[in-house]
């Protein structure tokens, strides 16, 4: 690869570590930085470097395959190993790119929603959260995953609670998230404990080899797997472990919601893929049972119930939050097919949904910024008062429904085809039924925005008041991305295909069907 030879060697060798260390250190430094502008600039620069690192890594992975970095020079399996491969590279790029895109938007949005004194600290918490998410994805050590999971979670609780100056219910939402998030993380660490008991190692690759040697291991490993699935299930908002999500998304500052919606659940989903398919694998019967029965049922129920709940919400952010739970159901459904095409579809939707939901929340945040509205009823006439924002919302919304020529269609088409190939004709029906429910809850918002006249204040119709350009740019980037993927999804599908091949190696194809 030519681009790689142009890059400085330190970036190639230490890019993996920089990805995590840089935001972590910068986040700590925020504690002493008094000025918001400086804080924003540093955050932006750091995340930009992270994105470049992630991009470099993705290119390297395409070129060389699996990359391994020994933290502190200790050899694995004793030392902590950082691993980047076809599965993690796209997620790393997704997280860092979404962070950069959101940060454009942050400066006006944070000014409007967070108390002046806390703004520098806010960026600090954000950096630590990003570091945690990137760390979760990049690390090859099971206990290290827990540490980063908690690093990102704890900073997320703080970020959600920062929404209290805009909406005091944010405090309660953060508290609930803290309780459930900690339980989830603790379940996860119990699972890791059981795995350590069985294998005597914490390195993921080593763990996988030892488990293979033990032919799936004893009941200890089985219990460990169950704990890990439930712990991660809480983190990724698998139905019915999703209770924390609507509150957290609805009351956090807009910027936090956007970032969380497009990255946090995705990182947890990545971990589920990593644990279920590479550390454990499909040659173990219990893995097949849990995934193809337990997860399948929860995914289907989640897709339908969360979509129905979304229809009855009055607050747009809650509509979108419930929709997120339903979309997680789609991703889990693809995963539970245990086929290459199913996993490809899952992974495609993981990426697409990040763009789609990010775009929607960006638009909703801009509406709050201009008019202070989040309720569906208040969307009256937004097509006239904020035409550009509303158009971006519409494109992303159509993509969420799965209208052709948008990213959402690509992922639903892939998923439905995978379901049919797997022999689950009924699942095709569920996917499309859920799409129709999406049509209803997004259509309801669009209807109010397009067909009703703007509200009148003191007898005067509200005037056009478009969001500032710096807010429009990120939401249009995501909306256009959604259309680009809808027209040519080749690159996303290829990336997902490479990840899926890593998850189900050739000799494992057809296992558990």
């Amino acid at each position: 690869m030519d681009i790689l030879s142009l890059l400085p060697p330190w970036l190639l060798t230490h890019g993996v570590a920089l990805l995590v260390v840089l935001p972590l250190l910068a986040g700590a430094a925020m504690a002493v930085i008094p000025r918001e502008r400086i804080a924003w600039t540093i955050t932006f620069m750091v995340m930009l470097i992270c994105m470049l690192c992630a991009l470099t890594l993705a290119l390297q992975v395409i070129d060389q395959g699996r990359l391994s970095y020994k933290m502190g020079g200790w050899e694995p399996p004793y030392g902590i190993e950082y691993v980047v491969d076809a599965l993690s590279a796209p997620v790393l790029l997704l997280i860092s790119a979404m962070a950069v895109i959101c940060l454009f938007y942050a400066s006006p949005s944070v000014k409007a929603e967070v108390e002046p004194k806390k703004r520098a600290a806010f960026y600090g918490a954000f950096l630590i959260c990003a570091a945690g998410l990137l760390g979760m994805v990049v690390t090859g050590d099971a206990f290290n995953v827990f540490v980063f999971l908690e690093v990102s979670s704890i900073s997320t609780y703080v970020l959600v609670a920062m929404g209290h100056s805009r909406d005091r219910r944010a405090l309660r939402a953060a508290y609930d998230y803290l309780i459930l998030g900690s339980i989830g993380a603790t379940f996860f660490v119990i699972g890791i404990g059981f795995l350590y008991m069985e294998t005597g190692t914490l390195n993921m690759a080593d763990m996988s080899n030892i488990l293979d040697g033990l032919d799936g291991g004893s009941r200890v490993a089985q219990v460990g797997f169950a704990f890990i699935v439930i712990g991660l299930g809480l983190k990724l908002a698998m139905f019915p472990l999703h209770m924390w999500l609507p509150g957290a998304y609805a009351h956090a500052p807009s910027f936090v919601t956007i970032f969380l919606a497009s990255t946090a659940t995705k990182a947890a989903l990545y971990l589920l893929l990593r644990f279920a398919f590479t550390i454990f694998d499909l040659s173990f019967d219990y893995v097949v049972t849990i995934l193809s029965q337990f997860v399948l049922v929860l995914a289907v129920v989640g897709m339908v119930f969360a979509s129905i709940q979304a229809i009855f919400q009055t607050d747009v952010r809650r509509v979108l939050a419930f929709s997120s739970i339903a979309q997680v159901g789609y991703i889990l459904l693809g995963l539970s097919f245990l086929t290459l095409s199913g996993l490809t579809a899952s992974y495609v939707h993981l990426i697409n949904h990040a763009f789609i939901k990010g775009g929607l929340f960006l638009a909703v945040g801009a509406m709050w910024y201009r008019f202070g509205i989040t309720r569906v009823a208040d969307f009256r006439g937004l097509s006239k008062t904020m035409p550009w924002t509303m158009s971006a919302f519409t494109i992303s919304g159509l993509s969420l429904i799965g209208v052709p020529l948008t990213a959402g269609f690509v992922s639903k088409l892939q998923l439905a085809t995978a379901a049919w190939e797997r022999g689950y004709g009924w699942a095709v029906g569920v996917i499309l039924f859920s799409s129709i429910l999406a049509l209803v809850y997004i259509g309801r918002i669009l209807r109010v925005a397009y067909f009703e006249t703007p509200p009148q204040i003191n007898g005067v119709e509200v005037l056009k008041n478009e969001a500032p350009l710096i807010m429009l740019i990120p939401m249009w980037i995501l909306a256009i991305l959604s259309i680009v993927i809808g027209i040519n999804a080749g690159w996303v599908v290829d990336a997902a295909g490479r990840a899926a091949e890593l998850l189900i190696p050739t000799q494992m194809i057809g296992r558990g069907l």
């Binding site: 609670a161 209290h164 508290y175 803290l178 309780i179 900690s182 339980i183 993380a185």
Partner: protein, 157 residues
């Protein structure tokens, strides 16, 4: 009977774990729920510490022949034993005249987990303080009622 006693600590861990979880879900007071969460997390710490125990193993502190603590780590042969009850493996280790230590790794891990737990608790308590300032109560029933009124008045903006 020996089985029962050898896994006695695991029994305690399970009881503590269930107790903690029950308190988290049953209590309606924000502080009490945090207490439950702490108990739950502590049971996991105990679980990890129990994992590290190797039957017959010494505390994992390096000493030289004179009984003094060694400082030169690189020179000493560290033998790590996985936390398994595989007696044969342990005996085979005796053949190379290694000292049998309990596994120190889980202890180190749990130090990290304790720090994480403390941080979580601190954030939880800080949130409770803020909730008390805003709502004037830490009883969930009261807060729910206030939020309900808040929603009805449409003061969400």
């Amino acid at each position: 009977m020996t089985d029962l006693f050898s896994s006695f600590n695991y029994g305690v861990i399970i009881i503590l774990m269930m107790l903690g979880l029950y308190v988290v879900f049953a209590a309606r007071n924000l502080i009490k729920r945090l207490v439950g969460l702490s108990v739950f997390q502590t049971s996991v710490f105990l679980f990890y510490i129990s994992l590290g125990k190797v039957s017959g193993g010494q505390p994992p502190i390096l000493v030289d022949s004179r009984g003094l603590e060694k400082t030169d780590h690189a020179a000493s042969p560290i033998v790590q034993v996985a936390a398994s009850d595989d007696i044969a493996a342990i005996h085979s280790l005796h053949h190379v005249e290694a000292v049998l230590y309990s596994n120190p790794l889980p202890h180190v891990l749990i130090l990290t987990a304790i720090v994480v737990g403390v941080a979580t608790l601190a954030i939880g308590l800080a949130l409770t303080v803020r909730i008390r300032e805003v709502y004037g109560s830490i009883e969930e029933d009261v807060i729910d009622r206030l939020d309900y009124q808040y929603n009805l008045e449409g003061a969400g903006e």
